[in-house]
Symmetry: C3
């Protein structure tokens, strides 16, 4: 490890609003990049409240993937660098469809897919999925 | 990365009791520091069972922040080094107040605020919030 | 940190089936090793669907520990390297027994025990516990 002081950088892609509190959508420090919990909100638009991409698991999951990806890229990373994804669902009946979406979306990964934990929790009304991610670059 | 063997150090601040099982309140190895899930228990006192700071979200959240901070400092870190905080609430109705407390408590952060994931889970009776944290020093 | 490109390696121990979707049971990149959420499934056997070690918390927890350990070892790590374990239970009434199992299983750890967060979530029917782990080697 270099002795040089590492800088922690907030990652705020143009698709995202300013966070609603004193946290960052993502941060990078050295070769560690952490993406905050993302949900299926459409890209931010002036004057519109945060709006899910749709009511279905498919719509929300694909939008959530896009939101995670935007933060990874803002930090100079890609899906290939992701070590862990935490997937929070609200209904165990969604597991099979989540896996189908996962296989479809990540079909072209070149490196080892990330590890994953999927658990079932409560989320704000209307949201079916939340995902965060830890990446190691380099 | 140096070839020298890294040491993993348990972090047990004087405000904390010995953990109730074979885990550590926090550990540091190299420049990675992980804080275990903290709740709003008051500083340990001889002969007193673990006692929440109070019944309200405010009381428990501020005490939980203090408990996380004590472990960070025991490991030579501060809030500025935190990359990720995982916030576990029990009620979606607490989200707005959590954000208010967050903004108040972290108003003076100099570096980028950490990422955050907030989900709604079950906690032991009487507890409204639990928080853990990952920090990268240097 | 060396400038050499780090490789991300999928960890698939012989006790495990291929993952049911595009994720890895574990990955290692540099000195970071992430174990995906493990449950108490018995070692994979041809033609048998994933089968929990038994209906009790004890049976499932000990099998889950074995499954995490297999992945750590596949990546050249051991329990001594683990920084954080996330324990997902389904019932707050299981906490005391979890701690007993923890103390029994980890009695001989030489280094500082890992940090831990325990929360109560939903899991697929029949499963009482899920655990994932982050390790830092070296």
């Amino acid at each position: 490890m270099s002795e040089a002081k590492l800088t922690k950088t907030a990652l705020t892609p143009p698709t995202h609003t300013a966070p609603p509190a004193r946290f960052s959508h993502g941060v990078r420090k050295g070769n560690i990049l952490q993406v905050a919990g993302q949900v299926g909100f459409l890209p931010a638009a002036d004057g519109r409240a945060p709006t899910p991409a749709g009511p279905t698991l498919r719509e929300q999951t694909l939008q959530t993937f896009a939101n995670v990806k935007a933060i990874l890229e803002e930090g100079g990373a890609s899906w290939e660098d992701v070590m862990m994804m935490r997937v929070y669902l609200t209904d165990t009946a969604h597991f099979a469809e989540l896996n189908d979406l996962y296989n479809e979306y990540f079909a072209d990964l070149k490196e080892a897919p990330s590890a994953r934990t999927t658990v079932y929790v409560g989320l704000p009304a209307g949201l079916l999925i939340e995902i965060d991610a830890l990446a190691v670059l380099g």
